[in-house]
């Protein structure tokens, strides 16, 4: 039993492929039209901006609906059960909308799913009965609902949230023991690694199709946690924070190993990127490498920060320009070829320019560009 009609999702996938094949002139336009005719209808998936609008106003509507119930909540029973009843109501309405309007991650269904998760909070808190003794119990009590929603809907953010809830439970349990506290980074890495391995294997299987987006998000989350858990900065500062140690944080045990992990993991990701031709690994590896360099600079500032920024930027420009030239032809499965501008790209171009313009002129007293602190409202010192 799944909430979304898998045939629609398959149609969407096939039509996308057919579109690509047409652009590459592998099939003719009439052929594509035939394929589109056979593989229809499609699920409703809005443009990004419309997605945002749908999401915002669904949230607004759902919140307004809860306010209507507020006056009724006056007994313990109502306090505990009204939320879940409301959640169930939303669930049924959601399933109706999915069937009726063929929604699939359209902003509306995402918002409703998050509302359902929240609406069960009072009941689950009651079940976990924590009195704030062991917050991980709350996570544990939430798991069945979350796992059900993941199976039934495959919503990516809820899936990532569940992954993090699992991490929280594992880490909290580990903290109960002395050895667990000591080995915490490795336990977190083990957990993230195990989840990553499962996702990686499952993605190869046919059945994974329905959960593809969720799995891809979890893939990214697991790799990020895996890197962060071994990062020297996270370990050292985390250790200080967990044990209430004074600033500056003291050196940690096994520092050498963590330094090694800090630099080996990004390189491993970059290797994986080339080996598997994976954009995800490439992006994560690059960000991780940058984070590692910043970590190194944080503890051993061998050159002043501004020099480091400027030189790193310059090195980046040179590297990118070289890569753009090098990848004009397909090399090792990668290519750099200009793509048609989407609205998002034009928007990004406009915004990025002004943002960089601002950073270029963060001078102590110069005409602070874009800062709006000169000219005194069009009058005054202007001319």
């Amino acid at each position: 039993m799944k909430a979304y009609n898998e045939t629609l999702l398959k149609n969407e996938w096939v039509q996308k492929l057919a579109q690509d094949w047409t652009q590459k002139k592998l099939i003719t336009q009439p052929q594509r039209e035939n394929i589109d005719k056979v593989y229809s209808p499609l699920p409703y998936r809005p443009n990004w901006f419309i997605w945002i609008g749908l999401f915002i106003f669904t949230i607004l509507g759902l919140s307004a609906a809860t306010v209507i119930f507020l006056p009724i909540i006056d007994t313990q029973f109502a306090e505990t059960f009204l939320g879940p009843i409301y959640g169930l109501g939303v669930l049924f309405f959601l399933n109706f909308l999915i069937k009726d309007r063929r929604l699939h991650f359209s902003g509306i269904d995402n918002a409703m799913l998050y509302a359902i998760v929240l609406s069960f909070a009072p009941l689950i808190m009651q079940i976990a009965d924590l009195n704030y003794q062991a917050p991980w119990l709350l996570g544990l009590a939430y798991l069945p609902l979350l796992l059900f929603l993941i199976y039934y809907y495959g919503e990516p953010l809820i899936t990532v949230g569940t992954f993090l809830t699992g991490l929280f439970i594992v880490a909290s349990l580990a903290m109960e023991f002395v050895w667990g506290k000591l080995l915490l980074p490795f336990i977190a890495m083990l957990y993230a690694g195990a989840v990553w391995y499962f996702v990686h294997q499952f993605l190869k299987k046919e059945q994974s199709f329905y959960w593809k987006t969720a799995l891809e998000w979890t893939h990214i989350a697991a790799l990020s946690v895996f890197y962060a858990a071994g990062n020297y900065f996270v370990v050292r500062e985390g250790n200080a924070a967990l044990n209430d140690l004074p600033d500056p944080s003291p050196e940690v045990a096994l520092a050498g190993i963590f330094w090694l992990l800090t630099f080996v993991i990004p390189l491993l990701y970059l290797y994986a990127a080339i080996h598997w031709k994976s954009l995800t690994f490439l992006v994560l590896g690059s960000i991780a490498l940058l984070a590692s360099l910043i970590t190194l600079h944080y503890y051993y500032p061998f050159i002043p920060g501004d020099w480091a920024t400027a030189l790193l930027g310059l090195a980046g420009v040179v590297l990118v320009v070289w890569l753009m030239r090098y990848l004009k032809e397909i090399k090792n499965g990668f290519i750099y070829k200009p793509e048609a501008d989407s609205e998002l790209a034009i928007l990004a171009g406009n915004i990025i320019a002004t943002e960089i313009g601002q950073s270029a002129t963060d001078s102590p007293q110069g005409p602070k560009f874009g800062g709006g602190d000169f000219g005194g409202g069009g009058s005054g010192e202007g001319y």
Binding site: L319, Y336, G372
Partner: protein, 322 residues
């Protein structure tokens, strides 16, 4: 479902001949990963880091020998960028122009950014413009407007608009819109509204002349958003004038909506809906529904939110857009 199974299926259904199928299978196997977005982003991040770092370095090394070398290098790089741009740029035409020289748009943007850093330094060190700060932001504004039109660069145009905005004391940088503009200050509100109107009317006139019609998007995005925010700020803070500001907001939203249709921009559709909804709701609650009980207020939100969701779901039919 993997692709080769799908190809089987397409072949069986008679949607694909077997020769094409072989070609497609080969293509899917060798299909390269496109690094376009990744490398572009990395390039912008690198430029940002470089320019930002250099911008600070200039000030930190004042009165050292390395300093004049640094300034010299930056001046050289700026001049080099502009030389490249003017040498290789395609001639001016009023319609959209694609530059063919490699990295053209990046070099132009870099030149502009370094120009800003350099100018800021000259002002700081030698007080080039004295206390005529207005002049110091007006010069890059005019120069960037010229460059944007000459070489057809929307990024440089946004720089020019931000520069001009800062001349009237406003911040048009999107991430700082709400942080650095005090929209409770009547003067800021007034300036933002005038600035928005001037920019939008000006760009509309240029568009009518057929001059860089696609630049409209940038004007509406930067100056238009500033205008809408100022109208809301006026409504929230100047009770006596709230209807007047509401009217201005309505005109602005209508303009956004009109541009959403013309530019086929869904972002403008979103912005015009959100601003109009906020304005109308505020006015209703502040005037007519004053002192309304919660239950009816929440009914209002429930019904209107559902209405807007419905609008977004069916806007294609309403706008007759494909």
């Amino acid at each position: 479902m993997n692709k080769s199974l799908l190809l089987d299926e397409l072949e069986q259904k008679g949607l694909l001949e077997s020769e094409r199928r072989v070609l497609i299978e080969e293509y899917e196997k060798r299909k390269p990963v496109s690094l376009f977005v990744f490398l572009r982003t990395l390039l912008y991040v690198s430029i940002s880091a470089f320019v930002g770092g250099v911008g600070v370095l200039i000030y930190q090394n004042i009165d050292t020998i390395g300093h004049s070398v640094l300034i010299g290098l930056i001046a050289l790089a700026t001049a080099g960028s502009f030389f490249y741009v003017f040498k290789n740029g395609v001639g001016y035409r009023p319609e959209k122009v694609e530059q063919s020289a490699p990295y053209f748009d990046v070099v132009l943007l870099l030149g502009c950014l370094l120009f800003l850093a350099l100018e800021g330094y000259l002002q700081y060190q030698y007080e080039l413009f004295g206390t005529r700060y207005g002049l110091a932001v007006m010069i890059p504004a005019i120069y960037f407007f010229f460059l944007a039109y000459r070489f057809d660069h929307q990024g440089v145009l946004s720089l020019a608009i931000t520069a001009l905005a800062s001349w009237v004391g406003l911040t048009a940088t999107p991430s700082k819109l709400l942080v650095e503009n005090d929209f409770s200050d009547p003067e800021v509100i007034r300036n933002a509204i005038i600035f928005g109107v001037v920019m939008l009317v000006g760009s509309w006139l240029l568009k009518k002349q057929g001059i860089k019609a696609h630049f409209m998007y940038t004007y509406v995005l930067l100056a238009g958003t500033l205008y809408l925010l100022a109208c809301l700020g006026g409504m929230f803070n100047q009770e006596r004038w709230e209807l007047a500001f509401g009217l201005l907001l309505g005109v602005g939203c209508w303009y956004f909506y009109k541009n959403a249709l013309e530019e086929k921009s869904l972002l403008f559709l979103l912005l015009s809906t959100v601003f109009a909804y906020t304005g109308i709701t505020y006015l209703l609650f502040n005037t007519m529904f004053d002192g309304l009980i919660d239950a009816i207020a929440s009914l209002y939100f429930l019904a209107t939110a559902a209405g807007i969701v419905w609008f977004f779901l069916t806007y294609k039919k309403i706008l007759g857009k494909k």
